[in-house]
Amino acid sequence: MSVADIHIGEEVHHDEHHEQSFIQKYIFSTDHKMIAKQYLISGIFWALIGGGLSIIFRLQLGFPDMSLEWLRPILGKWITSAGKLDSEFYLALVTMHGTIMVFFVLTAGLSGTFSNFLIPLQIGARDMASGFMNMLSYWLFFISSTIMFVSLFLETGPAGGGWTVYPPLSALPQAISGSGLGMTLWLVAMVFFIASTLLGGINYITTVINLRTEGMSFSRLPLTVWAFFITAVIGLLSFPVLVAAALLLVFDRSFGTSFYLSEIYIGGEALPNMGGSPILYQHLFWFLGHPEVYIVLLPALGITSEIIATNSRKPIFGYTAMIMSMLAIAFLSFIVWAHHMFVTGMNPFLGSIFMFLTLIIAVPSAVKAFNYITTLWKGNIHFTPAMLFSIGLVSFFISGGLTGIFLGNSALDINLHDTYFVVAHFHLVMGSASFFGMLAGVYHWFPKMFGRMMDEKLGYIHFWFSFVGIYLVFFPLHYVGIAGFPRRYYSWTNFDAFNSFTDLNAFVSIAAILTFSAQFVFLFNFFYSIFKGRKAPQNPWGSTTLEWTTPRIPGHGNWEGDIPKVYRWAYDYSKPGAKDDFIPQTVPYSHTPESNLPFENELAKTEDVSPVAQDAK
């Protein structure tokens, strides 16, 4: 697409072409760390495309009179003869922005990267339970990515029915040109994507359950691993339903069935389909779609828990409560899906039930937010870039989470549904918060991934532009949403009710462009630091978890010699009496009598401090 994207494309190829002799190491690798990096680089590539698409449609929304003729070299016939963006391609942009960001960046890029990288390192395993499956998972994702990428260049355009691809719009090429080949490729890509997610998820779950090192009980797992674990379970239970939804849609599109189609007259003819229900698709889609929100968000929250505790030099507040709230969120996420459908004509009684269940989710979410804040209280805070991004995440999580209380209320949703209020809500709580979690994770674990440090000052610049920029983009959208501006509108000038806020929309677009530009600072920092960054110490952040006991650049198998044994939980920061302000998980209680709590002294008596008996093999 844009110059910068091609640049990243080259980075991907860089690995492929120049390291041919190391195919096993860099391409068809079964090493979880390499696979994590593959996911990360792919995720960054997709984030640039997804973000770039949003900038194009923000230009249209912010500056409807602007000539976009200069985009013709890239967009070709999607720029009309009047120099404007084609209104159908506008919808395709919106659709692909959503699809890419939700699935390819925040699901694959976030879970794929950090679950793969951190689970074995933090639980003390040599690798994933099945390295081969893990490799397969990445390459299915790669196939999916390729197909989705190709669909961007089709003559009829990529899928254009919104990222939720509701039929009949997505089922009928007569209705929108994106529902032709573009939609077919979308569906095929998604099926590969889901297969990839499932393979990855099964691996994460098995690894966490079976490959924990000695002493690493579930109650000693870092919250990151808990989050990845729960995320994988949610994914495993919900993604198959999306396959079902997609498959039925394929049948309706290609084989003349009527699962979602009924009584349709389009393009001058009455279709023969009878008896289907478009609402059935929405139920199936949101049965995945809502858990998906948490598939995106929970890993980010897990990463944040770890980073906030480390950099506050304090144990995470309410470790058990954090796990309980994640479990509660995971459970509830499966029984709230129909709050996306309050105004579809669904039985109002169901609406009542789903309103009730939806608003309950606010309770565990609130607990999490309070616990983060209390973790900061009386800390000794180091503002590393990762820490700043984590604080930013908590801020977004609160701002965006609170507006969910409006939208989860079916009576209020009548007026807010599908307006910019929704856009503002989920971009803050799901989009930006998860994106910040991903960035925080990159800044925090970069030393372990590449053995070098990222530049802090560039990190600060990146953070401040992104943080302020994102608020400037999404906060004003609440006002626009309360005024009832519908989302997915190419322009609002047709309506008297929506002829206001032109300045505000221009402002939002400028803020979006600035925020997007700031990401190039990150890109430079990231790739520059891989090769030229300052060499990282073994444990740069003074962290307690196991990954920091590996060598600077962990080789295959992660630990030279025996796998370390775990004696304590992951959050012994600033323990009273201890010499340092952190005690790694590998230090037995019997070595730290000066800082032990009474019950820990009891444990110390029964501790077995001999090395791990044998590698599980």
Binding site: Y265, F317, I360, A362, N415, Y479, A483, Y489, F524
Partner: protein
């Protein structure tokens, strides 16, 4: 040429930025930043977080209370709209309070507990009492919101009152069509297979209730009377959204939906209230439906009840406007159709028609 200059300028700027970056990195190494226990610029970042809090809250209050050029609340014109609007602002009050407090704590703590050389964090892993409190309090507050929301929802979605004005609204790519039941106050059947270029709504003329149905070019509704919209779509999903009435309901092909509400202000009232002589209520599509999604505007007119009755009685049945479609009426109902639609009958047939009327009554 201009493009070339722009490209060169960008390259130059990037080069300068990279040079600055390298210089500062080298200076950092010379000063031994990496060996310091705290991250560089810790104090600066803490201060910026505090500044962000102050500036952010100022912006939030300033723009929420009149700082914007435009009003971001559309005037309300329905009975249930008043209820939901009240609920909206109660929710806003509660969440706004939580928002401000939590952000103050988040950024305030960040600033206050920034790294100090001799500082030591407090080992404070949990406090059951505190956690119970902040689980219980949100639960109670949410219970209140749930109950009030549920009450409003049940009221809004309850069956329409007897005698509500029934209007059918149909969405299609990319426009709306509305149909009134006519003098008999009964909407005739429709069948999507009967749709053609003229009969856009697929009126089924084998149903005698359809003979007097009329299809105007604007949606008229009476002020102060409940209006039941029967909603359907004929191609893809659309959504009937009227922001001033705080009403929205999807139009789904194959699954008719409905929504009832009571308008409280006529178009003229609204023109006076907003001071905009050109004000019109609008019906908006709010579910992505294709290329023209952003242009599905339909004018809604709220009349005083008397004006509404007058307007209603002046409308011409669709069948009369399109007499060709008499051919679709079953033979035995033809005469009745002519009468109901007000089509001029030939003298000779009048007697028969009278008979027909008697027999059907």
């Amino acid at each position: 040429m201009l493009n070339l200059i722009i490209v060169l300028a960008v390259i130059l700027i990037v080069a300068i930025l990279i040079a600055i970056f390298k210089v500062t990195t080298l200076v950092g190494i010379a000063k031994g930043d990496a060996k310091k226990p705290e991250p560089s610029n810790n104090k600066l970042n803490a201060t910026l977080l505090a500044l962000f809090l102050v500036a952010g809250l100022f912006g939030f209050f300033y723009y929420s209370f009149g700082g914007l050029d435009e009003d971001f609340v559309q005037p309300i014109a329905s009975e249930h709209g008043l209820i939901t609007e009240r609920l909206f602002w109660i929710t806003m009050g509660i969440t706004g309070f939580v928002f401000v407090i939590t952000q103050i704590f988040l950024f305030g703590f960040s600033y206050k507990y920034q790294y100090k050389k001799d500082g030591k964090a407090t080992f404070y892993a949990h406090n059951n009492k505190l956690e119970v409190i902040w689980t219980a309090v949100p639960a109670v507050v949410l219970a209140v919101l749930i109950v009030s929301g549920w009450k409003a929802w049940v009221g809004i979605t309850s069956p329409a009152p007897e005698g509500a004005e029934v209007v059918e609204v149909m969405g299609y790519q990319y426009a709306w069509a509305v149909r009134y039941p006519g003098d008999d106050k009964k909407l005739g059947d429709s069948d999507y297979k009967k749709i053609d270029v003229t009969n856009q709504m697929g009126i089924d003329f084998s149903d005698k209730a359809s003979f007097d149905d009329f299809i105007p070019l604007e949606l008229h509704i009476p002020k102060g009377k409940p209006v039941l919209l029967k909603i359907r779509a004929r191609d893809v999903i659309h959504s009937v959204y009227m922001p001033h009435f705080r009403m929205q309901m999807n139009a789904v092909p194959g699954m008719p939906t409905h929504f009832w509400f009571t308008p409280t202000k006529s178009t003229a009232d609204m023109r006076a209230e907003t001071g905009n002589p050109d004000f019109n209520y609008e019906l908006v599509c709010n579910k992505i439906c294709g290329k023209g999604h952003f242009a599905m505007r339909y004018v809604v007119v709220v009349d005083e009840p008397a004006d509404y009755e007058k307007w209603y009685s002046e409308q011409t049945p669709w069948l009369k406007q399109n007499e060709d479609y008499l051919s679709q009426v079953p033979a035995e109902l033809k005469e009745m159709a002519k009468i109901a639609a007000g089509i001029e009958a030939e003298e000779a047939e009048i007697v028969n028609i009278d008979n027909a009327l008697v027999s059907t009554n």
